[in-house]
């Protein structure tokens, strides 16, 4: 048991050594190296010339990254690993939603008329507004991620609160839409009723509608909760100071939820609006 501990200890020591060396380089006005390059960019804004001489030692020294786990060589490698993991999770989400999209596609190919008729009963004013709300919330989230990279914690928190609020607006509108549809007997089940030539498969459309929008709304709910927690952490603590990766990953999740809705919207609301 002694040997691994010793190895671990020496690995940590060498990392600290690297860090000290890089900081020394920074203080000497040399070109920043490795993981510190990104920080140097952040400090002076976006994509500055890498040859910019560092002039703020305090921000350079605080970047000796306390959040760096021992298995990673440097902060950049840890960041890449985390981002890759998030994309992998999103790939599984693509397949999770993909199964439902496949079911929708197969039924729509088999019963195009029933789906066209059923789609005309959906409430496009709600759906269209919600699409715009999600797009705007995604735009705000993009700015929150940017502010996190620039270490502006108060702005991060504010933008995340706006994003979460827009997510709430989406859920409230969705809830009103659901309530109206229930009152119009469009919830599949015993009370389902629709004026259509093929009510059985129009009901299948609404079964898929409730399933897909419901699971999407669940994702939005999870997103709103996470974004709210992140906003409070950014406001109260220093959790994301010089460590913006979590905000970055939260942004990826939120944009993915937006993409899912971008595909749901035409398939649900726009099947047959003409004629």
């Amino acid at each position: 048991m002694l040997a691994p501990t010793a190895t671990l200890g020496s690995a940590r020591d060498s990392r600290v050594g690297d860090g000290a060396l890089a900081v020394a380089n920074l203080s000497a006005g040399a070109k920043p190296l490795g993981s510190f390059q990104r920080v140097a960019e952040t400090r002076t804004g976006v994509a500055c010339a890498p040859t910019d001489p560092p002039n703020d030692m305090s921000s350079a020294t605080t970047t000796a990254p306390s959040h760096l786990e021992h298995q990673f060589d440097d902060a950049q490698q840890q960041r890449d690993a985390a981002t890759t993991g998030m994309w992998l999770f999103l790939a599984t989400e693509v397949l999770f939603f993909g199964g439902m999209f496949l079911g929708y596609t197969a039924y729509r190919i088999y019963y195009p008329r029933a789906f066209a008729e059923a789609s005309r009963h959906t409430l496009i004013a709600f759906g269209g507004t919600n699409t715009a709300v999600l797009v705007i919330s995604s735009t705000v989230m993009a700015f929150a991620v940017r502010a996190a990279r620039e270490n502006r914690q108060r702005i991060v928190a504010t933008l995340l609160w706006i994003t979460a609020s827009l997510g709430m607006v989406f859920l409230v509108i969705k809830g009103c839409e659901y309530a109206k549809e229930i009152s119009e007997h469009l919830l599949p089940g015993r009370s389902f009723h629709i004026e259509a030539s093929d009510p059985r498969h129009a009901e299948m459309f609404f079964y898929l509608y409730w399933l897909m929008t419901g699971i999407h709304a669940l994702h939005v709910t999870i997103g709103v909760v996470l974004i709210t927690i992140f906003a409070f952490r950014a406001w109260i603590t220093d959790a994301f100071r010089n460590h913006d990766t979590p905000v970055d990953l939260l942004g990826l999740y939120w944009h993915f939820v937006d993409i899912v809705w971008v595909f749901l919207f035409p398939l649900i609301y726009l099947v047959n609006r003409h004629g």
Binding site: E41, V46, A91, V94, I124, I259
Partner: protein, 94 residues
Amino acid sequence: MKRTFPIAGTYVINGIALLCLLALTIFAAYVKLGPFNTVIPLLIALAKGALIALFFMHLRYSKPLMWVFASAGVFWLGILLVLALGDYLTRGWR
């Protein structure tokens, strides 16, 4: 040096572009276009999804490894759709 992060204006333009595409897809849905009433909304959705992934999700500025993972998701979705629909769409062939 390769940019690792877009400028702020990119997000604004991307957001406006997404809203314009939304308006376009709703407008197109109310015009009688035959089979294009199915194709156009899907193409617009693909364009919107690509804009979100490239600029909001920074894929445009990411390393090849992220492209591999992002494409893998789409590729496996393609397998799911193509093989399954290959069955459903050809059942009428005798």
